[in-house]
Symmetry: C2
């Protein structure tokens, strides 16, 4: 199978929204009149972003999901995407699974593949995704104000827990592992929530490198600080019941580390003024996505982790950094 | 140096055209009212698209040049680009050179970096480039008609010749090698020519995998064939004077292979009706880019290579294929 046969067999569909899709030097896309185009890009490398043993169907899902998550964080509607693929070989079984997983999620979000590139090389997947948003309505990292509430969507930390099982540092009952593994391998981009939060949230980011790091981006861009109640945050890990130590006690240290700095969650962290609490609730209901209020934005820079009594925790958590 | 420091130090500039540039979950780009956005993407892998020893400044140039070449082939004006970078390490010397080469070419085309991704991994560079074009004016591969002339811009085959010198199958005098190497390492995207050919050319593609392969894309998309005069094409290699065999005779076999199937040329191949010959000449003058008429589109499918007397050549040439 040659390069162009590969593209034709697995990645060519009739252009719907695009004026010109796969198969020319460029794709042509016309955003609706007056709309801004939101653009984001994530590259996934084997051994770094996914295990070599991952089911290609799930990998196809994840590669697009992590990109849609960026559109969600900006409150933009997915339109289309580009796919660049470096493959060690043209493996039919792999390509079939990968493309099915990719298109299943793409179709669920009415997001069209409009072009890309294929080459031979160590397995790498680079997707650039395009969304649209009315001018001035995108959710940015820079809009948080002192006094705003801090929220996160869904659950946090289970993807990291699954990774630790793969690494052999933890074990889980099969059903709990399957659920955690699904969080790691097939994250749910919070597109509906991002759209529902337009005009409600003051700032938003998606959580890819851990809550501490990604909330940190909001704090830095907004030039503010925050206080997070770890007694609430710690409950966000779905698998808390299985997080015990040798003596059967709840392993709060691991739970908190997974929640605050686990990474690979693809939930949203966002802020909104206290008088918008009902609107946030309504957005969560509309998007059928649970949200939890975990703290507050403060004028003083820095992130303060506190316990239920408001006492500062001494422990520090770092965001995932590819080069640190 | 961490991931975000790396981005800040080497890849963050103030947004000019973009509504929002590097540093949020998405970039925001608003095409001018009524304009279509042209999008293209090329991934470069070390050892496959460039030698590990290449000067990072030149690599920065080339990574963007091959993408701008796709915009040129569609007759679109460069606006902005995204950069995804997988790096084995955060090497300051490499990053400094790469980013300078990248931005030197970007600035020359007023093309703005609006976002991207960095990760650790085997060296891979994935750029997605954005251009704009009025609806209906993009040059497509599908517009060639029987009777149209076939043209190419610039020179062909010298990039491949340089590669053969690197591989040790050829040698060249130093000055000739330097010139050929510049063609391989720092190709010139024919953006001005692509723009000048709007409304003149009936079809166009850029030559990345060799003339035979890329003209083949036009023929397939346009459902036509072509006849190419190899006695003209063979003169397109700039280094013809040094292409001799042991006996001092001109090595026409190698010259033709380099011109027709060498790859990495990043010139344009395009078609235009015979009554547009003066307009093609005017476009070439306006863009300060030489163009050469090398053949004609025919109704019968397939590519026919003929000599000066119109006799069919028996030899076949294949396009570069990453998976063949």
């Amino acid at each position: 199978m040659g390069e162009f046969e590969l593209i034709e067999r697995y990645f060519t569909r009739t252009a719907r929204r695009a004026a010109l899709g796969v198969g020319d030097d460029c794709a042509l896309l016309a955003p609706a009149p007056g709309m801004q185009l939101a653009i984001s890009c994530d590259m996934l490398i084997e051994g770094r972003h996914f295990l070599p043993t991952v089911d290609p169907f799930k990998l196809g899902h994840k590669a697009l999901a992590v990109n849609l998550s960026d559109l969600a964080a900006c409150g933009t509607k997915p339109l289309a995407f580009n796919l660049a693929l470096a493959l060690p070989s043209a493996d039919d079984v792999w390509l079939d699974g990968f493309s099915r997983g990719l298109f299943a999620l793409a179709d669920a979000h009415d997001c069209e593949l409009i072009g890309g590139d294929t080459t031979r090389g160590p397995l790498a997947i680079c997707i650039t995704v395009f969304g649209e948003v009315p001018p001035g309505q995108a959710l940015l990292r820079s809009g948080a104000k002192a006094g705003d509430d801090v929220y996160v969507s869904g659950t946090l930390g289970d993807a990291r827990l699954a990774l630790e099982v793969f690494r052999g540092t933890r074990s889980l009952p099969q059903a709990a592992f399957d659920a955690a593994r699904a969080r790691m391998e097939q994250p749910t981009p919070r597109v509906a929530l991002g759209l529902a939060l337009r005009g409600v949230a003051s700032a938003a980011a998606d959580i890819s490198d851990g809550l501490v790091g990604d909330l940190g981006h909001i704090l830095k861009a907004s030039r503010v600080g925050a206080r997070i109640d770890t007694s609430i945050a710690i409950k966000l890990i779905a698998n808390k019941v299985h997080l015990t130590m040798g003596d059967g006690q709840f392993d709060s240290k691991t739970a908190l580390a997974c929640v605050l700095a686990g990474g690979d969650d693809y939930e949203l962290v966002f802020t909104a003024p206290p008088d918008a609490r009902n609107q946030v609730k309504a957005a969560a209901v509309q998007a059928q996505t649970p949200v939890t209020r975990i703290g507050q934005i403060e004028a003083a820079p820095g992130l303060r982790l506190v316990d239920a009594a408001g006492q500062l925790l001494a422990r520090r958590f770092a965001a995932f950094d590819h080069f640190a």
